[in-house]
Symmetry: C2
Subunit: 219 residues, 2 copies
């Protein structure tokens, strides 16, 4: 693949919370020189689709997931980043609720699976830069937006919400201050019922009042 | 120009301060349907150059300027954004000190000139989105980084520094608080000499201690 001009791909860093850990979805490459490497899923942008549509299509082809939080991250364009030709990558990051996702393999990939962000395998292209970049953006946005709604299931306890913050930010938060702040912002509503099948005092379940992205200082 | 896959261009929103105004450099288009429109300068990325190099080359070809502040902004990719073909644009913004710039026209452009950001002409492509996007980024970075060093000449009075902030943010700042904050951050050094040829009490000239970008809360 030689191009007179650079062609463009999208790559999407997909995060979810599972097993008390922030995980990222990676696909295993087949072709040399990346035959033992993993990468964030992606592909070339077609002549007739927008960047966002290309990222959505690719996400759907890899995970069967659609209508999730998807945001443009950064465009990577080093000349030698792709040994197969002059491909520039517009990176995105996506957030998927912790509910199960059915992963699909395609002809292009050998395998697809979730990795804890602190235990990543060897990565192809410049994805060893891309994934930490996405993680920094996620951490920042967790502090000043309501983006957490994209990672939690519809109903959650305040303890689970705090845990979501603590896992991603990798630090403990004061329970009392956290609850006070969350309640004062009117971001969440009580559902009126409690988590059943648990300890002697089941916790109240909440939901986000609004599933639209908004800028709001949380921490 | 039909492409099976999208090709990629860079476009650069170039700001400077002149005549007490924030200005942006625009080039006048020749070809229909944009023959009366202006645009931020840009062009296709060659097969052998990085995105940053393409933006630098293009900036130099248009303005004769190099080694200025240049930052990636956002990648625009609507399918119909360019009537000439499927071109995705990685936008950049550049800051040029208020010292004179020699503008050059090329075969591709009819004219090149500075426009006040509040009085823009009709714009080609999606540049009516791109320029306000760049302006918002500049405003934000003025508050939490030392980016102003890229817009001022080497030596300036604290009054000129404050004016730079006031013009771009489009609001008045308290002189006493502003000076106190700037001095407390150790961002600027006195040069030891004063602006001559002015009123009866010439103002002290300062320079930035460091011309490397750094994150620092200024306002």
């Amino acid at each position: 693949m030689k191009y007179k001009y650079a062609v463009i791909a999208t790559d999407t860093v997909i995060f979810t919370l599972r097993e008390q850990e922030l995980k990222v979805l990676l696909i295993k490459m087949k072709k040399a020189p990346f035959e033992n490497c993993w990468a964030a899923p992606g592909g070339l942008v077609h002549g007739d689709e927008s960047l966002g549509n290309a990222a959505e299509r690719n996400l759907y082809e890899t995970t069967g997931v659609k209508d999730v939080y998807l945001e443009q991250l950064y465009t990577f364009g080093r000349v030698d980043r792709d040994p197969f030709g002059r491909v520039v990558s517009v990176s995105y990051f996506a957030l998927i609720p912790s509910a199960d996702v059915k992963l699909k393999t395609t002809d292009a990939y050998e395998a697809v699976r979730w990795f804890g962000v602190s235990r990543l395998p060897q990565l192809a292209y410049d994805h060893a830069e891309m994934i930490p970049y996405a993680l920094e953006r996620l951490k920042a946005k967790l502090e000043y937006t309501n983006i957490a709604f994209s990672l939690l299931n519809d109903e959650f306890t305040l303890g689970e919400l705090q845990q979501c913050y603590e896992i991603i930010l990798d630090r403990k938060l004061d329970k009392r201050n956290f609850r006070k702040k969350i309640k004062s912002l009117n971001l969440v509503d009580s559902t009126g019922h409690r988590r059943t099948g648990q300890a002697h005092r089941p916790a109240m379940l909440y939901r986000f009042c609004d599933h639209n992205y908004q800028v709001v200082q949380i921490l």
